[in-house]
Structure formats: structure tokens, C-alpha cells
């Protein structure tokens, strides 16, 4: 796996209780590893107000707007799993938040692995059941990218 998603970017469990806090939590992780500037986190929150990044299957993938791409220093992804579902929208419970900072195409192979995991209900169950961050990281690593 490339350094787009490293072990320290997988967090279980996350501490946020609301959608806004979850986006900030994911954004802070990306800022900490030097992938984005703090302005990108604001763009993530802004983009969420425009169009929800709720994907279904208890997954949301907050990311910045097209204009905020200049705030990305390098492509990175973070994965946060929450013990209690966060209400992303009416009837949209989210247990897993994937924060995305993508320029170019480096992040796409991992993103498509995550997509394939969440398109398969059995795999989703495993993602929600594995005990810790290390196992979750391993699970994502195992998937064959399309």
C-alpha cells in the first residue's frame, strides 16, 4: 500500500459525536500528517453544506471543494470508525468516516478498495466488527483493487 493511507491515519474509535465534529476530526488528522492546510478543513465543512458526502452503508467521505485543491499538499486518506452512529442527515447513520485529500490519481486505488468494501454488506459487517485500528487497516489492505 502507498503512503496515501498509513497506519496512523486509521483511528478506532473516533471521539466526535456530531457530523461537524467528525469532519473536523478527520480534517485534523490530515493536517497533522502534513497533507493539507487548515484552510482545507474549512473547505471540507463547506462542501458538506453544499452536497452531503453520505454514501450509504454507514459511510461518509468528507472532502474539500474543487476550488480548495490548492490547499492539498499531498494526497492522503484517513479512516475513522465510531462506536456510536453519527447522525449525518435524517435517517443517515454513519459509523465510518473517510476523510479525503486527493490531487491527481494516487488516492484513487485506495478509494476504490474502500468503495468495493462498502458495496458488499458482508464486508461492511467485518469493517464494523474488527476490534481495533490495526485490524481495520489490515482489512482495507487485503482488498483487491478493481
Amino acid at each position: 500500500m502507498t503512503d496515501v493511507l498509513t497506519r496512523d491515519l486509521v483511528v478506532v474509535p473516533g471521539t466526535a459525536r456530531t457530523k461537524d465534529a467528525a469532519i473536523r476530526e478527520a480534517g485534523a488528522l490530515l493536517v497533522d500528517v502534513g497533507a493539507v492546510t487548515p484552510a482545507y478543513v474549512d473547505a471540507m465543512a463547506e462542501r458538506e453544506r453544499l452536497v452531503s458526502t453520505y454514501m450509504g452503508s454507514q459511510l461518509a467521505i468528507p472532502h474539500g471543494t474543487d476550488e480548495a485543491k490548492s490547499q492539498i499538499l499531498r494526497s492522503a486518506l484517513c479512516v475513522i470508525r465510531y462506536d456510536e452512529p453519527i447522525e449525518w442527515g435524517p435517517g443517515q447513520p454513519v459509523r465510518v468516516v473517510v476523510g479525503i485529500a486527493g490531487i491527481g490519481e494516487e488516492h484513487l486505488s485506495i478509494l476504490s478498495r474502500i468503495a468495493l468494501i462498502f458495496a458488499d454488506p458482508a464486508q461492511v459487517d467485518r469493517v464494523l466488527e474488527v476490534p481495533g485500528a490495526a485490524e481495520l487497516y489490515g482489512l482495507i489492505e487485503q482488498v483487491n483493487a478493481a
Binding site: I61, H63, D66, K69, L111, S112, L116, A146
Partner: protein, 531 residues
Amino acid sequence: MSAAAAAPAAPTTRRGKRAQVRIQRFGAFLTAMIMPNLPAFLAWGLITTFFIAVGFTPNGILGGFGNADVMGWQGAATQLQLADDGTTFRQYLGLVGPMVTYLLPLLIANAGGRIVYGARGGVVASIATMGVVVGSTVPMFIGAMLVGPLAAWVMKKIDGIWAGKIRPGFEMLVDMFSAGIAGAAMSVGAFFGIAPIVTNVSQWLGNVVDWMAENSLLPLMSVIVEPAKVLFLNNAIGNGVLVPLGAQQVTENGQSLLFLVEANPGPGLGILLAYTLLGVGAARSTAPGAIIIQFLGGIHEVYFPFVLMKPALIVAAIVGGATGVATNAVFGSGLRGPAAPGSIFAVLAATPSGSYIGVILSVVLSAAVSFLIAAVILRASRNRDLAAGESGDLGAAIAQTEANKGKTSSSLSALADAQGLSTGERPAGGQLHTIVFACDGGMGSSAMGASILRDKLRKAGLTDVTVEFKAVAQLQDGADLVISQRELTDRARHQAPSSRHVSVDNFLSSPVYDEVVALAKSADATAGSAP
């Protein structure tokens, strides 16, 4: 279909459906080429209505008939003009002529090129179209509608030759010069190759009308005149053929109905009224304004785009026009001189006192007949236009989205219907080769949706379907299918008017994916079994 032909009936039906789909796509293409430029037509119509020599508020500077040596306004573009006494003077160019000669055809060419090959196609299309515009004295609308998309297509093919083979770092240089050189070459080619053809066609049409007038086939003249008008050859036919012939008749009879063949505002009024009552979206809301400019202002050009985007309406114009000519023939009515512009006021001003009944009836009857036929045509295609959002307009797009809401799984079948295929049938032609996922940023949701669909297609053994993803703002027209989030479908439809569109709520487990796979499978099977 006779009983003897019963056996091959099935393939024939399929071919019929396929032809129907093609015609619909062609119609959507014409609409997308004309519709975005309607405001430019209206702007030009307004300027013309007011400022030409016979307008409401004639203005020599804007209307392009004033003498710059006499009038005070300096610095504007002028051209040398021969005065009656044989001397030359500087005449203002004005807005009217350059707008109809250059602006409108280039806008159409740009829109057409953009549909075929994005912004790059639009640029090359405009360059090439400049060749036909300047290569002839006839307004080059048909030239623009032909050359624009063609030039963009050629550029696309040329780019395809070295796509991916250029050393990194040189792409921009190659892109710049290839489009520049190809555009220059096509502009010259169109100048010598296409402009003379359109000029000849226009002359030939004039000769045919001439011949008809001599052989008393008067109402039949509308069969030539109305289509020629819509292709902006109205002045060539009107001033070039009908006015001279009419003037000759006036010296013999004191009046001529030939002045009313082209200038009768009735047929245009009928078509615009039909759009006002039965049109869809932007076309409908623009029509009432166009009526004022057309019927009162006499600038017929504003109704031409309404016919160009739905060519079947030419029937309404022809029959309406023929009705007007026949009415004048029956009543023996005509005009004393040319009615220019073809406004109802100009027509009445040129009517001799004995001809009022015939002339007014010819306008009223031609409008009524055109309206009825146009209404039937618009009515027949209305639901399809609404569903397909062919008007390129928001209201229709929303209606379509609403129709899909709550039954996402049937959205594709609704789509298939919009394409003229009933749900049970195999899609005509293998028309599902490119699918584009569109989202707001082009880095997240659409990428995930695309991976899932790619995976599903691969598992189904379908290898000739490309799945891409893009930011909505970067979306180009031309893909067979565009999938987007519900909130973004309107914008996507606006960016890619000729593509089919589907909305999804849930990018990860949408029933739409399985339907797309099924559709691609059947399209593949149809294409595979075709000879």
C-alpha cells in the same frame, strides 16, 4: 406492413426504433446548438427592430445606414459606401449587419463544436466557421451548423492520432499548435470548399422560386421559401427574387402578392403562439417576447431558431405560408411595394385600399393554420421533451428528477422510455459505451461510484464499457450515460445535454448499478448479434 412482410417485421421494427432514436438524438443536438444562443437572437432582433432605417427609432449609427462624414459620432467602425451621385462616403457599420453575419453564426458554431469536443472543439469550430462566413455574402447559418460540429469532430480525430504518445511536458505545446494549424487549415478549406456551395444553393433556390412564379405555382413557392427563410436565406430570396419580380408586377397591375410570400408575418406568429401555449421550458418562456419582435417589429429571424430546434415545424411554416399565398390569389390582393421589415405595420402600410380584406385574411389564416399544425407537432412530442429535458431547461429537468424520486429503481426504465425504447425491449444499437460519474469535486463520491460500477461490469464480463468520473463543472457532453447525485443532476444535465442522465441517492448500493449492467449486457448482445 403487409402480411407478406410479416416474417422480417421484427427487425424492421427494431430498425424503425433505431432510426427514431437517431432522429431524437439529432433533434437534441440541434436544440443544444441553438438554445443557448436564443438570447443573442433576441438581442439582435431588438436592436434591429429599433434601429434600422425602417425601425421604430431609426438610428444611423447603430442601424448601420448613417453617413459618418455628416453625423457627429466619431471613432466607430465605418465602411466606404457608394452614394447615389457616384461619390463615396463613410457609412457606419452599425450593430445589425455584423451581429447577424458574424456573431450569431459563430455562436452557433461554438455551441455545436462544444457539444462534440468541449471548449477545444468550440474554439476550432469557430475558427473554421469564420471561413464560410467570410467566403460568402449569404448569412452562414447552415454553414455554421455544418462546419462547426464537423470541425470539432475532425479536431477530436486528429487529437486521437497522438493521444498518449506525446512526451510529457510537450502536451500543451502540441495541443496549442495542432488546434491552431488544424483550425487555420479548416477555415481556408471552408472558405473555398463550403461557402461557394451554400452560395450556389441559395442562388438555385432563388431560380426555383423564379420559375414557380412564372408558372403560376404560387402557393407551392412556400415549399421553397419557408425552409430557405429558416436557414436565414430570407433576404436572399425576398430581396433577390421576390421583390424584383413583384416590382415588375406592380408596374403592370399596381400591386403584387409576391411581396407577401416572404414578408407575411403570419406563419411565424402561428409557430410562436404554439410554443407559447404548448412549448417546454426556456423555449416556451422566450416565445412571447419573440412574438413582439417578429410580428410587430417584423424581424422574422427570431422565430427561425424555434423551427431549427424542431425541424418538423417547417411543415407548419410551409402550409401556413401556402395558405397566405392562396388567400391572396383568391382575393386578388397584394401589396403596392415590399413590406420591409415584415412587420404587420409595414404590411398594412403597403396595402392598397382595395386589398385590405385579402391581405389581413392572408395574415390571419396563415397564422391560424401554422398555429394548428405546430400545436399538433409540439403536443405530440411534449411528453417526450419534458421527460428528456430536451429543452435544456431547469423545469423539465426537475420534473424528470421528481418523476424518478421515490422509485429510484425505475429511473433507468424511465430513461429508456425517454430514448424511445419501451422497457421490455432490447435497447436499440449498442449505445452504452461510455458512462461518466459526476460529483462536485471529482475526487471522492464519483470515484467510488465508478470503481463499484467498473467492478460490477468486469464481473459481468463487459469489457467495452468505459467508466469515468469527473467534477460536474468539468463534465463534457457526449457520454452515453451520466450518473450523478440527485442534487447535481440538474447541473450535469446542463453540462451534457445530449447524454442520458440518472440520479443516485446512495453511491454504494444503488439498484441503478445493476440496471446499468443489465442494460449494458443487452446492448452488448444486440450489438454482437447485429450483422
